[in-house]
Amino acid sequence: MDSSTATAAPVTWSAAGRWLQRSLPRLVLSPTLVVSLVFVYGFILWTAYLSFTPSKGYPIHELVGFLQYVRVWNHPRWQVAIHNLAIFGVLYIVLCMALGLLLAILLDQRIRQEGTLRAIYLYPLALSFIVTGTAWKWMLNPGLGIEKLVQGWGFPNFKFDWIVSEEMAIYCVVIAGVWQATGFVMAMFLAGLRGIDQDLIKAASLDGASLPKIYRRIVIPQLRPVFMGALIILAHLAIKSYELVVALTGGGPGYATELPSTFMYVHTFTRNQLGMGAASAVMMLLTIVAIMVPYLYSEMRGARKQTH
């Protein structure tokens, strides 16, 4: 729509008034653009710049090349963080997708109370990660939580103290993370299942295909875009994960559940290592960009193909 049609009204406008009327759309959008340029792009450049300086408690304007990146990668806590991100990321994505798909397929069987069940699976998404972390920290409390519950059921030797174990604590983060996000993946798969062409399924069942075979051969292959979408979102969430670890383990015991996000926060705000904090933030951003850009590019190309 052309903004000049707006001036077709039978009103005489002064030149300034006409200019204002024509520029109004741009003027209205401009605060957001300025905000975006400063607070998103400007701040990214600022952080990137700091990552090449020897800044500690405050910015030092001097370039030292990739020194901070080298320091980050040589830091034992960063190495633990990357290791944890790999464990957490893979398990979180795989478990959320597997359970999400299972729940979606089960819910798609024309069951009674579907709405109620869906609401139950989805409510954790309305909770803050801090609340989720607090709840699971209590459930996983060795001595008072699930451990004690199962011991009381007649298994006095039952042990479930992952949350205080350096090797196992990261799996507690996985449990709480999967609990919170599976409902969302389920909702995505359910929407996908409802969009599948029913004639294909009818035809296959008339041909005598068994139910598991129909799912394996027809339904699941058609959900490919949903798998891609869920994969991207979960990977993105895994890289950004921060609050859950803070509330659940505080990064501990020791720094056994460190993630890149907690590393960034600690070095920036409590250890006065702005340069290292900035370098780790830049690496987080680059990882997310590396995942998102190819995905968005292929999505947009797909969308363009459909319209032309």
Partner: protein, 296 residues
């Protein structure tokens, strides 16, 4: 949702009986797992401390008590000050209400411009704004802390409102743009012929027809801003902290005996506003989730 679809199960016709038991069994099992943490929190928050030590996490209280709730609200220690979480609850309320209204209103106008007053390069600008949905916020923490300090609004509710509005705009613009794209241009053109201008078209035609997307956006923004911890922890101290930061401080305050029942009451209070929104507007919540998260 129109139930036109037939699940493969139904098309098959057979097998419904043998598997119904398994299907319902599995669904109920998962439902129990999903409800369990909330039930445990609630039961724990209604028990005296000694019952927590003597019984199991799912045991019903012998002696029901709301004292943990009263303590959490007005007495418990958040860091060094022991006035409960009520002050932080109000911090979050003020912050969330202001930031939701501002970011929704601006996003609405942006969506209107980007769809009904398209100018050259509008799509590019939209893409530029949209990028803000994906960034990990760690990348902006250091400059933001510096800027808030320079503006003199570090550690204040207005400072946090600014942060949440700024980083919420990408989402609100996305929501309204995608909604208004489907809004018929003919109505706008007719109004223009009648002499209506930019704002009168907006207020008289677009706004009255925006109720569903306003609800979706408000719920999305409300949930995200209320639940935020990273910005709150980075840009607030002491008394100015939002609810999530205070909750984390309550739970991780290491002095004295750990009052698990008070912790759980505080956690439920912190979760209550977003849970209520979810219960009242669940349908819109899910719709927002599907749009917002595919992009962010």
């Amino acid at each position: 949702m129109a139930h036109q679809w037939d699940s493969p199960q139904m098309v098959k016709g057979t097998g419904v009986r043998w598997s119904a038991f398994v299907i319902y069994g599995l669904l109920m099992f998962f439902a129990a797992i999903y409800v369990l943490p909330l039930v445990v929190m609630l039961l724990t928050s209604l028990k005296p401390l000694q019952e927590i030590y003597s019984g199991s996490i799912i045991a019903l209280p012998h002696e029901w008590t709301v004292k943990p709730w009263i303590d959490a609200w007005g007495q418990t220690c958040v860091g060094l000050s022991c006035h409960g979480i009520k002050g932080y609850f109000w911090n979050s309320t003020k912050m969330t209400v202001a930031a939701v209204i501002l970011s929704t209103a601006i996003g609405m106008l942006n969506g209107y411009v980007l769809t009904k007053w398209r100018f050259k390069g509008a799509d590019l600008l939209f893409g530029l704004i949209l990028f803000g949905c994906f960034i990990p916020f760690q990348i902006v923490l250091i400059p933001m802390a510096t800027l808030l300090g320079k503006l003199g609004i570090a550690s204040s509710t207005p400072g946090l409102v600014l942060v949440h509005v700024v980083y919420g705009l990408a989402f609100t613009t996305l929501y309204f743009r995608n909604f208004y794209v489907a809004f018929p241009d003919e109505l706008i053109r007719a109004a223009m012929i009648d002499g209506a201008k930019f704002f009168s078209i907006f207020f008289r035609i677009l706004v009255p027809n925006s109720a569903p997307i306003v609800v979706v956006t408000v719920i999305w923004q409300f949930t995200n801003i209320w639940n935020d911890f990273l910005f709150g922890a980075s840009f607030s101290t002491g008394e100015s902290a939002p609810m999530t930061v205070a909750l984390n401080n309550v739970v991780n305050t290491s002095t004295g005996e750990r009052e698990y029942n008070v912790h759980m009451a505080a956690a439920i209070i912190a979760a209550l506003p977003t849970l209520l929104v979810y219960i009242v507007g669940g349908r819109y919540f899910v719709r927002g989730l599907m749009t917002g998260s595919v992009k962010g």
